[in-house]
């Protein structure tokens, strides 16, 4: 099924036609992203004018020297401490998930792969729930540490399980190991939640994936890992293109596939682990965005990865805005919003791509 879907994707995608549009496209998407950011910040309990938003971000370093009335000062504060961090985290999470998904799909040659598949989300959830159950931890930023560690440990576990036995780690075995570990860990997670109502109450919003209440205290410790992951992804994008043609072809072209796969796996863990630490388990971005990117940019990962990055950022920002406004004043977890927006697209994609 993989090869079939891929051969189609390589033949008839590239909506925008020639390569000429690829570079300008990056700038256009960046522009859209900035617009989305501004839009997102203006919306909230009290709407703020775009000009104020712009000023507040520009002036964030010399607040003390400004002459402001109390209302503007309050708005500046809201923007700088609440809304801007939130939208920033949203972008980073979107980018990280999309790129992690793109790498996973290229590496495993499986169009359905996303970061959830390596057991990363389940590992993070389990670690967080366990932490709450054992320690009763209250704060969101401590969740982040546990989530990150849980994600890392489960990814290593999946890799170990997937590579034992004859034949080493093939994509299919990794996927299987991921699915199995996910089922296993989630059953433990549920076992805890069923027996501890308090933990359940604390955790249920987090397990749905949300940006609510995230601020710089989470962003600062986690973002370096994600940054390393994103830069690394851009650096190995050429090698991923080669691997996506198949292991044997890549080896034939003189590539050290084991090494590249190892690096790629570490990048995926950094990105997906970082994302789940920041926002909890969010599905669908990693699955859908790489497909969109491939539609626009073709089969070359040097373009797919930057496109996935930008589209992921835009998509999560928009989903977060929608999540905040659909049932105002309450908030839908953005992970769920994502599934609601992403699924119709995915259905369309499946109908288009899969022939007899």
């Amino acid at each position: 099924m993989t090869t079939h879907a891929q051969s189609i994707s390589q033949n008839k995608t590239r909506i925008l036609g020639s390569r000429f549009w690829l570079l300008p496209g990056v700038f256009i998407l960046s522009g859209i992203l900035v617009a989305c950011v501004l839009w997102s910040i203006t919306l909230g309990a009290a709407d703020i004018a775009p000009q104020t938003v712009f000023d507040a971000i520009i002036q964030s370093n010399n607040m003390d020297n400004l002459q402001l009335d109390s209302q503007t000062r309050f708005q500046y504060l809201v923007i700088q401490t609440v809304r801007f961090p939130r939208v920033l985290i949203g972008i980073v999470v979107g980018m990280a998930l999309a790129v992690a998904g793109a790498i996973m799909q290229g590496l495993t040659r499986n169009p359905l792969a996303d970061s959830g598949i390596l057991g990363i989300n389940a590992g993070a959830s389990f670690a967080v729930v366990l932490a709450v159950f054992v320690l009763g931890t209250p704060s969101l930023s401590t969740y982040a540490y546990f989530a990150f560690v849980g994600a890392g440990v489960s990814a290593v576990l999946v890799y170990m399980l997937g590579s034992m036995g004859r034949g080493g780690a093939t994509p299919l075995r990794l996927t299987l190991a991921g699915v199995i570990l996910t089922a296993f860990l989630s059953s433990f997670t549920t076992a805890i939640l069923i027996n501890d109502q308090q933990a359940l109450d604390k955790i249920r919003f987090w397990t749905a994936g949300s940006l609510a209440g995230r601020d710089m205290s989470i962003f600062i410790p986690v973002s370096p890992y994600v940054a390393v992951g994103l830069i690394g992804a851009l650096l190995i994008s050429r090698q991923i293109t080669t691997i996506s043609l198949g292991d044997d072809v890549a080896k034939g072209l003189g590539q050290n596939t084991a090494w590249i796969k190892g690096v790629a796996a570490i990048i995926v863990v950094l990105l997906a682990g970082g994302a789940v630490a920041l926002a909890g388990p969010i599905g669908f971005v990693g699955l859908v965005v790489p497909h969109i990117a491939r539609f626009i940019a073709g089969a070359d990962y040097r373009w797919i990865i930057p496109y996935a990055m930008l589209i992921g950022g835009i998509l999560l920002t928009v989903a977060d805005v929608l999540a905040r406004i659909v049932i105002r004043p309450q908030e839908v977890p953005v992970g769920l919003m994502m599934a609601l927006c992403g699924a119709p697209f995915f259905i369309w994609l499946a109908r288009m791509r899969v022939r007899r």
């Binding site: 399980l161 997937g162 299919l172 570990l181 089922a183 549920t190 109450d201 839908v332 599934a339 259905i347």
Partner: protein, 352 residues
Amino acid sequence: MIKQTWITIRTPLFSYKLDKRAPWIALLLLLFMGIVLVASISYGEYHITPTEVLQTMLGTLPQDHPQYRQFHLVVFSFRLPRIWVAFWVGMALATSGAIMQGITRNPLADPFLLGVSGGAGLVAVALIVWIKDVSTTVLPIATFIGALLTAFMIYIFAWKNGGSAPLRLILIGVAIESVVGAFTHIMLVFGNINQVQQAYVWLTGSVYGRTWAHVHTLVGWLMVLLPMAFLCANWLNMLNLGDDTAKGLGMRVERQRVILLVISVALAAVAVAVSGTIGFVGLIAPHIARRVVGASHQALLPISALFGGALLVLADLIGRWVISPSELPIGIVTAMIGAPYFLYLLYRGRNG
């Protein structure tokens, strides 16, 4: 003349071919079942010895036995119904899973592939969270309908050019399931915490507190569905040869695939309606059965069913025992048994 590895049941009206190993394995499984059943009934806060269990069940316990009435109450009203529910649910899920794996030619397909668990889950959570004390008669009916509707929706979306390619079914199943799952999750996030916890238990799958009424519903449906499934087993063999070959042999592939899907979905929906979504049975039981009786579905379906039933009865016992006096929902136990089994398969390298 070749050595026969199958047996034939043949009357003027009816004939059926079956792997020779199947009846013996069935017998072994039933024996195993019986032992677990007795152990399971005797185990619990109110202990009854195995001999007394047998006596009570066979009606040979003397009337003047000091605990005659308690024994009857515990065995027939508390323990036996839930064990029967576990058994029949296991049969249903395993058969459903075997059919699903046959249709998709994918050994990792499970009965919930077509959104049965998602649809049933959405309805169940909605009822549990919104209507505080949902009656135990309404819940199964409503979830059954929810499951069927979701499956139907997926099939409709996957239909294109007069066909439903299995891969398209799988992909669209994933998508619809995640939408339905999102709605379920929204309710879990915003609902009252007591109801949410109850909903979680339902979602994991549990046979706690099930009564004879549940058993009767199950048996009623399965008495129709299981024989139908077994009689259609040969269609699965045909589909496994590939659509073209099957068509060349005169099979109406699309129509018969739909019939099989309907049987499979109905089996899973009946099970889910009674016990919630118990995972892994539908995946593992057919796997084990395939290793024991081979790839031909005439033997594979019934043996899968028995494996599924035995597995759930055992899982129920483990769930009651492992953190007693509290109890672990049966769905969690199956995941804890199932995951290592799959790791073992992975280690053996058969799927690599």
